[in-house]
Amino acid sequence: MSQFTINLLFVGASFALYFGIAIWARAGSTKEFYVAGGGVHPVMNGMATAADWMSAASFISMAGLIAAGGYANSTFLMGWTGGYVLLAMLLAPYLRKFGKFTVPDFIGDRFYSRTARLVAVACLIIASVTYVIGQMTGAGVAFSRFLEVDKDTGLIIAAVVVFFYAVLGGMKGITYTQVAQYCVLIVAYTIPAVFISLQLTDTFIPAIGLFSEHTQSGMPLLQKLDEVVRELGFRDYTADVDNKLNMVLFTLSLMIGTAGLPHVIIRFFTVPKVADARWSAGWALVFIALLYLTAPAVASMARLNLMTTIYPEGPTANSIAYDERPDWIQTWEQTGLIKYEDKNGDGRIQFYNDTPAFAEEATARGWAGNELTVNRDILVLANPEIANLPGWVIGLIAAGGLAAALSTAAGLLLAISSAVSHDLIKGSINPDITEKGELLAARVSMFFAIIIATYLGMNPPGFAAQVVALAFGIAAASIFPALMMGIFSKRVNSKGAVLGMLAGLGCTLVYIFTYLGWFFIPGTNTLANTPDNWLFGVSPLSFGAIGAVINFAVAFIVSNMTEEVPQDVQDLVESVRYPKGAGGAVDH
C-alpha cells in the first residue's frame, strides 16, 4: 500500500468518526448549542478542553520552537500550562456559578453596562479571529502535505468538515468531537516520541529519556547535544538566558493570555457544578501535560537526530555528501521546507551557525556559508521518517495534526458565533428574539465565521506569524483583568472597567504596532524591532502582562474616584463567590 493510501485511510477514518459524533450529538436548544446543555462530565470536559486548547501550533510548531531555542524557549511550556492554574483558581468556578452562556454576558451584567459588554465582544472577536487564521492555514498545510492536494483545496476540505459538525452540533457536537480528536492527537504525538526515545536512550518514556544517557556516546543526552551544537557555532542548548526580565514577562503574558482566551473559558460553562469546574481544570491540565511533557523531549532528540544525520561521524569530521542524503530530506525538499545550496562546491552538506564569531573556524574548515535551511515546523511531521518508523505512523501524524487544527478552529468559531448571536443580536439589537430564532442566528453567524476564516486562511495577511502574539496580548490586557476584577472586587464599577479595558488594550496595541508595523503593515513600524529599541528590554510579544497591569491600575483609580457599585450588582458578585444557591441572590 502506498503512503498516500495509508494517509487517506487514517484521515478518512478519523473524519468518519467526527461526522458520526456530529449526527449523534445534534443541538436542539440554545443551551445545547452554547454550553452543550451544561451536563458534560468533568473528565470529558478536561479532554475536550485539552483538544480545544492544543492547536496546530502546539502539535506542529512548539517542539520545533524549543528545538531551535533550547532552554530559552521553555517559556512556551510554562506559559501555556501555567495559565490553567490562574483559570482554575481565579476564573472558572465563579463564571460557572454565574451560569450564563458567554464571556461578554458576565462582563455586561457585572459592570451593568452595555458599553462594557460591547468592548468585551470586540476584544473577543479580534482575539479569536486572529487565532483562527493560524488554525485554518495549519489545517491547509497538513492536508496539502499528506493528501497531496494544493493548499487551498486542503483548506476548503477543512472548512467543510468543521462546518458540518460545528454548525449542526454547536457546543454539544464540538465537545464530543473534541474528545475524539484529543485521543487521535495524543496517540499520534506519543507513538513516534516513544520510538525515538527508545532509539536514543533505551528509555521508553520520552520525558525521562530527555534526562537519561545517550546510548551511543554514553554521555547524558543533553550534554551530548550541547557539545554537538557548540562545535558548530550554535548556542548551547541548555544555556541560560541574559534578559531574564523579558523571559519572565513573556511567560507571564502567555499565562495571563491563556487564562483570558474566551474559547477556553466557555468550555468550563459546560460542566454541571462549580465543584466540577474545579476538577475539570485539573483534568484539562493532565491531558495537556501528556503532550507538553513529551514536547521538550521530542525537541532535543529531534535536534540531535538532525545533527547526527548531517554529521554521522561527529561535528568535527566531514558532513554527509549531498548524494547520500536520506530519503526524508529528499521528500521534504520537494515541499520547499528544506533547502540546500552547495556554496563551497564540495558536494557535502554544511549545516552550522553562520555568525561572525564562528567565521574563522568555518573558513579554516573550507566552508563558505551555511548550506542547509530547515523549516522549524517540519520537525514533528518529519519525526517518524527521521526515525525510520513504518508508514502507518506517518498516517497517524497526519490525522493527529488535522485533529489538533480542527478542534481548536471549531472551539474558536463557536466563541465567535455565540458572541455575535447571543451578545450582539440578542443582547443589543433584538432582545425579544425567540429561542428558535436565536438558535438559527447562532448557526448563521457560525456559517459566516467559517467563510471569513477560510478566506483569511487562503489570503493570510502578511503578518500571520505575529497574529497569535496579538491574540494573547489582547486576552491578557483586556479580558482577563476585567473578569478577575469582576469577581474579586466589589468596588470596580462600569466606568473603571471600561476605561481599564480600553487602556490595557490600547497600550498593548500601540506597543506591538510600534515595533511590528501599524496594523501589521510591513515597513510602517516606528522603531526597528531589535532588543536595543525595546523599552527596558521588553519585547512587543511580552507586553501583554504590562497591559494587564495598566488595566488593573486604571480600573482601580477610576473606580475609586467615581460612584459605588449598585447594591444589586454587589449581590451578583456575592452570588458568584458561593457555590450554593444557583442564581438566587441575583433574582431577589
Binding site: S74, Y84, V85, P93, D240, M247, V248, W279
Partner: protein, 86 residues
C-alpha cells in the same frame, strides 16, 4: 439568600488565603526555580544539566497539575465545611 453572613465572609477569606498560597508555589516553581533562581540551582545536577532546566521543562508543569488538584480538593472540602456546597 441575600443576607451577607459572617459564615460567607469567612468562606471567602479562606478561599482567598488558599489561592494566595497556591499562587506563591505557582510563581516559585516557574518564575523562581525555572527562570530567576536557575543560576543558584546550577550546582544541583539532573541528567546532564541542572535543576533549573528540569523545572523549566518538566517540574513546573508537574507542579501546576498538583496545585490545581490540591485547590479543587481543598475548596470542595471547604464548600462542605461552610455548608455552601451546591
Amino acid at each position: 439568600m441575600s443576607d451577607h453572613t459572617e459564615n460567607q465572609e469567612n468562606y471567602w477569606k479562606a478561599n482567598v488565603r488558599l489561592i494566595f498560597g497556591c499562587l506563591i508555589v505557582w510563581a516559585l516553581v516557574s518564575y523562581g526555580f525555572g527562570i530567576l533562581l536557575r543560576p543558584m540551582l546550577a550546582g544541583i545536577e539532573v541528567g546532564g544539566t541542572d535543576l533549573g532546566f528540569w523545572f523549566a521543562q518538566q517540574g513546573s508543569i508537574i507542579s501546576f497539575i498538583g496545585l490545581v488538584f490540591f485547590y479543587a480538593w481543598r475548596m470542595n472540602a471547604l464548600d462542605k465545611e461552610f455548608g455552601l456546597e451546591e
